[in-house]
Subunit: 456 residues, 2 copies
């Protein structure tokens, strides 16, 4: 057993249900509020943006939601994904810790994102939607949705954060290959985009702005819906296939994690790997630390506030109860474009508020150092986002070494870095800088927030 | 069964031996000749370039060669690779043919090349070699060797064909991440490179030139050996792990191929998938067509001559009996850099001469069309090299449709196109052209050959 490197499941092991953690949470998430009236809204308010199949999943209190056969059929293209024991990394660290990682980079789009892109496209197709708009930061999500839409014959329109659009032309081409149209955001195609460009014609964009643009198009066209790659409950739900498979694979390894680690942007990566394990903590009281890792340049979990805020920059979405740095916050241009979102998903925010999970912020220089060590020992070059999880795993392995305890660490390697080599180039050539926000910058960001507080 | 998409093996199914087809060939390959004397050479003549462990494999007549445990241990990072039934592609083609593909793009370097890079680095490490030089065309081979050398603590020095070096900066960065040094070829670091640059300072380079440079460095430094990513017997040997796994997976599918297809550069891709199946043809008389697919711009198998020729441009290697367009031939700058080699491996050449296998040439425009259809139906964006195999699979599926026969087709999807999106861009924007050589061009190339003929 100790010699085994890779734990492989068969097609029959692809989960048949998604796991909804809200069913087992001691405190349920608070309801979203209407952006204008600040009154709680029901499912119907989401109908202009999402098909009913997804809205039902967004609000369901069922613990398990069945995965349609057509979706499982496409999951077979890359699922089940492998789970690895990181023997060579452990050796390099000289740690007694046992390090495992689940590798989601084997999907066609190269990350965990297709796990939710496929069901989202599926439910839209079922309800006759012919076009889906979305935003993308690093490009992982846009690629995943382009891939999924193509398989169901839906036209896909992607608003790509300007800085990523310029830095990653190959991501754009990947989306084009699958038939999607890609626009740099802010664009002149929407009112929201034109508004931002009027203030700053050279705006590098942000995920919040791109969301505003994609939402606007969907809200103003009957044949078009919108799709989000993280944050929302149904997105986190779909990602739980990762953790369910990992549970089986850890069982194959005869092990159970003491610590689960994942990078944190909006929460889907973290939820995907951790929720099926957290179920055992919530239901059976099993001991388990789950750690979300965010950039020091966008520290909403560790330095933001827990209150109602918009999901987009302009303020078109419902108000969501979440950890946030403010919906107008635009983080520094670090090289992990995907973790530059101002807020955190509602479920994860509530779990953090209730101390069921932990959060930590890591600087990008430390993450690239960790990623290069990983590439040199385990062979896989990770996406810059994934390096955040690796960096924290290295910290925990170091603590285990100092304490002399053989802890079991599991992290989610959410994607490969094949489209991010320019970031590695920037790191190698010394062009990357530390990006820790000062207390003053944090206070200035939070002072701008004018949305409702959470009721006591 | 018919519903199954992916046939997955476990770590225990990684082959324990490589298969050497020369043991079962009716006519054995002719011996290599000394470049100056034209006399047959023995294994010792290769000692300046290769470690004895690999030379033994180059000349062995054993049918099976044991895979060292240390090599199998690293194979576990990505092997066994999946074998797919291309349900969605079949449907799009409306063909009665059953199409299967073995997917080698799941390796860290993204292609089948690490299958031989790892054992090559291993045997060099065992004999105390501290530096390995090599050439790379498309970059797949250089990446694979950089990956493998890093794991065994060997310094890797890559001569990268100039045109690829300029077109694919991210490939270079991938090699850098694994610790390799990469130089554009022709370079001023070698006598061979300086000689070419003196004739043409803007030379786009070729695989033959890059080989000359890498060989020169190895031949003139005691601590340095050379490594080749295709053509040679031991390279083809290592790749047979692909076909051995595929044999088991086709058995899981309850099927056996009527036709096996693979792209052809030097022969390792083709050998890897086909030799373990061809064994059943050679030993048991099983019916099977194996088709090597080359570019119309570099048609050594279909329009070249079978005679002795050098492996490199300058003429430093032994003379090998092979199909060739002449060692000074430099093919057009098509976008599948990896298939631009002037000659074919000795074993494959003999098999073709004896009509045991077939060869066909396809134009790059047809291959990209096939690759985009594949990406849209099966989800994976193939390497441009891999598109040659897909294009031929589509031709055969079309014939099956016309004949109304449910033929079983298996092809090797040797790598993903994540680093080749610029080629897709060129295709989408209409910048790629047909590159069929004229009869005059072929004759002009062959007229330059001054190496010995094959004895009758």
């Amino acid at each position: 057993m100790s010699n085994q490197t890779k734990f492989i499941l068969s097609e029959q092991d692809i989960p048949e249900k998604w796991y909804n953690i809200t069913a087992d949470m001691p405190n349920k998430p608070l309801p979203p509020l209407h952006p204008a009236t600040h009154e709680p809204i029901g499912p119907d308010a989401l109908a202009p943006l999402f098909p009913m199949g997804l809205i039902e999943q967004e609000v369901t209190s069922d613990a398990w939601v069945e995965i349609p056969e057509e979706v499982r059929d496409i999951y077979k293209v890359w699922r089940p994904t492998p789970l690895y024991r990181a023997h060579r990394l452990e050796k390099a660290l000289d740690t007694p810790a046992k390090i495992y990682y689940k590798y989601e980079g084997v999907s066609p789009a190269g990350s965990h994102k297709p796990n939710t892109a496929v069901p989202q496209a599926y439910y839209n197709m079922k309800e006759g939607v012919t076009r889906i708009t979305t935003e993308t930061g690093a490009g992982q999500w846009g690629s995943a949705l382009a891939f999924a839409c193509n398989l169901f014959g839906i036209h896909c329109e992607v608003y790509m954060v300007r800085i990523s659009y310029d830095q990653k032309p190959y991501r754009k081409l990947m989306m084009n290959t699958w038939g999607a149209d890609v626009y740099p955001s802010p664009s002149d195609r929407t009112h929201a985009g034109r508004q931002i460009l009027a203030q700053d014609a050279a705006s590098p964009g942000s995920l919040g702005i791109a969301i505003s643009e994609a939402v606007e198009i969907a809200a103003t066209h009957d044949d078009t819906k919108y799709s989000l790659g993280s944050v929302l409950n149904h997105v986190l739900l779909h990602q739980t296939v990762i953790g369910q498979e990992a549970l089986k694979q850890m069982e194959m390894a005869g092990d159970f994690p003491d610590i689960i680690i994942a990078p944190f942007g909006g929460g889907s990566n973290f939820a995907g790997i951790s929720f099926p394990f957290l179920r055992h903590k919530l239901v059976e009281g099993k001991k388990l630390r789950a750690i979300a890792v965010e950039p020091t340049s966008c520290p909403k979990l560790t330095r933001g506030v827990f209150r109602y805020d918009f999901g987009d920059t302009v303020g078109m979405t419902p108000l969501l109860p979440m950890y946030t740095l403010g919906h107008t916050f635009i983080p520094a241009k670090i090289h992990a474009g995907g973790l530059r979102y101002h807020g955190a998903g509602v479920i994860v925010s509530q779990l953090l508020k209730d101390n069921i999970i932990e959060a930590v912020a890591v600087d990008q220089l430390e993450t690239f150092e960790a990623g290069v060590l990983f590439a040199k020992t385990e062979g896989i070059i990770p996406a810059p986002e994934a390096n955040y999880g690796i960096a924290q795993a290295l910290r925990e392995a170091q603590i285990a070494k100092e304490e002399g305890v053989a802890k079991t660490i599991l992290f989610n390697l959410c994607g490969h870095g094949n489209f991010d080599m320019a970031s590695y180039d920037a790191y190698f050539s010394g062009r990357l800088q530390k990006h820790e926000m000062t207390q003053q910058e944090i206070e200035a960001a939070l002072a701008l927030i004018d949305t409702p507080a959470i009721p006591a």
